[in-house]
């Protein structure tokens, strides 16, 4: 196996794992946050504006971790610096 194959294989496996794990846990915590918000909405419908706004901001905070993982895996697939390095070396030879 030459280095280009190793880089390609590692990048693809890592990208898949990054998105898989990085979606799993934010999804769990978002579900928890929404469930808690719904419970408190049912208890205090008057405070719905505050609860909804806080819920949205909190969801954005949680979701951004998933987005970071997505960005990392997109970089690994489409704009991989190591891959580009070895391709440039192979072209230069």
């Amino acid at each position: 196996m030459d280095s280009i194959t190793i880089v390609a294989m590692t990048s693809i496996i890592c990208a898949a794992l990054t998105t898989a794990i990085g979606c799993m846990f934010p999804a769990l915590s978002e579900g928890k946050a929404v469930a808690t918000a719904l419970t408190s909405l049912a208890q205090q419908p008057d405070a719905s504006a505050t609860i909804t706004r806080t819920l949205f901001v909190g969801l954005a905070m949680i979701e951004s971790t998933a987005i970071y993982c997505f960005v990392v895996s997109m970089i690994l697939i489409f704009a991989n610096p190591f891959w580009n390095h070895f391709i440039a070396q192979a072209v230069g030879k």
Partner: protein, 233 residues
């Protein structure tokens, strides 16, 4: 497939590039500025008012209400900044219904610029509200041990703002691109619809987070006085 609209170059002369991000950003600026100029040219104060004036009034008053709900004491001072942020990000994602258009917020340069604006605006509003000493004091609260963590959080939340908006916008375009090659019939339309919703939510969240940060920087003295009043009185 390309990762960001930076890679679509319309015109190039030497190192000067005119890419899709710059063109669409300026297009949006012209659209927003000309639109509001045209609408506010003939404002009426009686009940006989135009449709567009109602539209603009609804937007502005709801932004003011949202800013006030976050806890900024006088929302009119930061209305220009926060409202422009919201309108720009919202218009950038709303215009994706135009064919051939790509949201400039799908490029990390645009979102980094917006986040840097917020990064600069927070101390400006803070110093304006409570003076240089008062603002710098918020860094060593509650104790001086928190100083490095406060500085780190200042930088990291700017980074988070930029990457969050970029990731959401980029992922929308990317998913539509991938789906077009797998199931090109119905699903891209559904995902585009979902992208519109995500864009609106992201615009809301970007401006609300900026408002929360500004509120945290401007509010401290008043809250302290209020606490003292409740303790002593």
């Amino acid at each position: 497939m390309h990762l960001s609209p930076d890679e679509v170059v319309f015109w190039q002369y030497g190192i000067f590039k005119l890419n899709a991000t710059i063109v669409y950003t300026w297009g949006l600026i012209v659209l927003l500025a000309l639109g509001s100029k045209l609408i506010t040219r003939r404002l009426s104060q009686d009940h006989n008012r135009s449709r567009w004036q109602n539209f603009l009034e609804i937007i502005v008053t709801s932004i003011v209400t949202q800013i006030k709900d976050v806890g900024i004491a006088n929302p009119r001072t930061s209305l220009g900044f926060l409202g422009t942020l919201f309108l720009f990000v919202a218009a950038a994602s709303l215009c994706t219904i135009i064919p051939g258009y790509e949201p400039p917020t799908g490029s990390l340069s645009t979102t980094a610029a917006l986040a840097l604006c917020v990064f600069v605006a927070i101390p400006m509003f803070g110093i304006e509200e409570q003076g240089l000493r008062g603002y710098l004091k918020t860094y060593i609260e509650p104790t001086i041990i928190m100083l490095p963590f406060n500085i780190i959080s200042e930088v990291s939340r700017t980074l988070a703002l930029a990457v969050r908006l970029f990731g959401n916008m980029m992922s929308g375009a990317m998913i539509v691109g991938i789906l077009l090659s797998i199931t090109p019939f119905i699903f891209p339309v559904v995902m585009t619809l979902l992208g519109l919703l995500t864009g609106m939510v992201q615009a809301y969240i970007f401006s609300i987070l900026a408002a929360v940060y500004i509120a945290a920087a401007t509010q401290t003295t008043e809250r302290k006085q209020l606490n003292e009043r409740t303790i002593h009185g």
